[in-house]
Symmetry: C2
Subunit: 339 residues, 2 copies
């Protein structure tokens, strides 16, 4: 078993494993070349293109895991929402959820229908990867609900929170459907060959502790109960949740993602679990003399290589220099190798 | 001395004082009526209009403080940046700071030149307010720097952080100029009659603990050292800073603002100071049966009326029902009155 899987189980490793969220992305010239010929939806539907992109960072860097190239939103299209990828603006839903009857009409199609290309890409990638573990993933129910209600990004998430607080029965129906869908998405990815699964509850940090506990945690607990039964390590990622990371961890996950706001010693203390993170992605835009002490801070607060997966606190930014990515991977490996 | 000023000094009060950030704003019909006839810049330049808007919520609700109607950005215009208020999009700077020489050219004009209308409005309002204390305010240096560099709101603050990490000398010049400007803004507002001063470091929560400590805290400490010498209570507000609220408090401020993410007992423990907050503004969009338990949670975690100023964790949203605002004020007063 490689060091990434061992770190997920809090077992001793030869050095700290490293991977990056969005490690296959616009900062890589080979990614930009491929995307200049194919739209996002084309890539997501084509198992060959998804597989090729997934492998780009594996060939370029000594990262310890691959993550299947996909997106958290296509399942919402499968549920009946209109999803578009607008160049330069990101994903948009042109008819976001606005009424109870729209929620009632949402379908819960199986993952084999909504992400067939991704499942096939997992099979293709597994043949190429050798010993490198492959991560499959899905959005967290709250994060998917927010996209479905806001139609895209949001400053205050006011529409989502208003639905959550004012229409508890509709919120329950929506979140219950999403738990069903996300459970199946993760199950099918594991069956297709994913060695690790990650739940991206990216926007869970816009809530109060009171609201996370009452309106989100019950659904996350159900979800994690199902996916822990699959027997592979589960990564539970969120941002902005420093103040209730204990609740996040309590919902489930073998490894808890932490954004850069909370030092990893505190994240470990709050969660009692292995942690993943937590360099600020913008630190990768800085010269090495500024980047290095920030990596050192992460490693220092992680308190050693056991139970730590090195990552950013969020996805790599498109303007990141490729050389910095390579240098971080090699530096983390070297610094944490037992001498 | 009224209960708001006493709460700022952690002295016992008859009940918990209440005010709201953006309590004079678009959710009030009388505000919308006035703004339909005058642009934002007209209002900011006119001491009569600013004073009239400041008094609107004082006449409508039993709030315990007034805050002068103004904005944190006009001083940036005074420093040489192009500021526009675009209806529906908020403030925009058409030529954000992009080079070291632009930072070198920034002026540090006195507050009497940049916010003369606001200073005169403070004098006008003071004549009308009677015993109600008046809050003057300014943006925190980091938040102003972010606006100046990004040109408006931002998702990742990548330009600001890149400058901060890659150009330490330019960052130092920018932040030093902002400390000078903000110190004078607050000093002149106190001289004009403000009873309390608030620093809005709204975006300080996008940083890591490492970066807040090294790149922001030294400037905030200088700023607070100057303004504490003015002898009035200082409120130090930020959002998203749960994980390093101790550092925020250590920079200065008599009362530390907390957003809704962190329960107030934890905020109090982390800061060792009186706290202000921290209802999620979106809770005011909910029906009373959902709003009330969320107010109760805030009051319960505040642990009694001493050293607590009730507020939202950020500004009132424009779609807030006026009746909910009135009801929250009266409910907090009633619930915290010693029986």
């Amino acid at each position: 078993m490689g060091r990434f899987l061992m770190a997920c189980r809090a077992e001793p490793v030869d050095c700290t494993p490293v991977w990056f969220m969005r490690q296959a992305g616009r900062y890589m010239p080979e990614y930009r070349r491929l995307r200049s010929k194919h739209s996002m939806l084309e890539v997501l539907r084509s198992s060959e293109l998804s597989a090729a992109i997934t492998l780009q960072p594996i060939r370029a860097f000594d990262v310890d895991a691959a993550i299947i190239f996909s997106d958290i939103l296509p399942p919402l299209a499968g549920m009946g929402l209109d999803l578009e990828y607008v160049p330069g603006r990101g994903p948009q839903l042109s008819h976001p959820l606005a009424t109870k009857s729209m929620i009632d009409r949402l379908a819960t199609p199986p993952a084999t229908e909504t992400i067939g290309g991704t499942l096939e890409a997992i099979r293709l990638v597994k043949r190429e990867l050798g010993a490198v573990p492959l991560i499959g993933f899905a959005g967290g129910p709250f994060t998917l609900a927010s996209y479905a209600v806001e139609g895209g990004g949001s400053k205050h998430f006011a529409r989502t929170k208003r639905l959550m607080l004012s229409e508890p029965a509709a919120w329950d129906r929506l979140m219950t459907k999403l738990v069903t869908v996300v459970t199946d998405l993760l199950t099918e990815q594991q069956k297709a060959g994913a060695d690790v699964l990650q739940v991206f509850d990216t926007w869970a940090g816009v809530l109060s502790r009171f609201d996370y506990e009452r309106c989100v945690a019950p659904y996350n607990r159900k979800l994690f109960k199902h996916v822990h039964a699959l027997g592979v390590p589960i990564l539970h990622f969120s941002t902005g949740t420093s103040a209730y990371l204990d609740l996040v961890a309590h919902c489930g996950g073998d490894v808890i993602g932490a954004d850069w706001r909370i030092p990893l010693d505190e994240a470990r203390k709050r969660t009692g679990k292995p942690v993943m993170g937590n360099l600020d992605p913008t630190a990768l835009l800085a010269p090495w003399r500024e980047l290095q002490p920030r990596i050192d801070f992460v490693l220092d607060r992680a308190g050693g290589s056991t139970g730590h997966v090195f990552n950013l606190g969020h996805g790599i930014l498109p303007e990141t220099p490729v050389d910095n990515v390579r240098r971080v991977v090699d530096y983390v490996h070297a610094q944490t190798t037992k001498k």
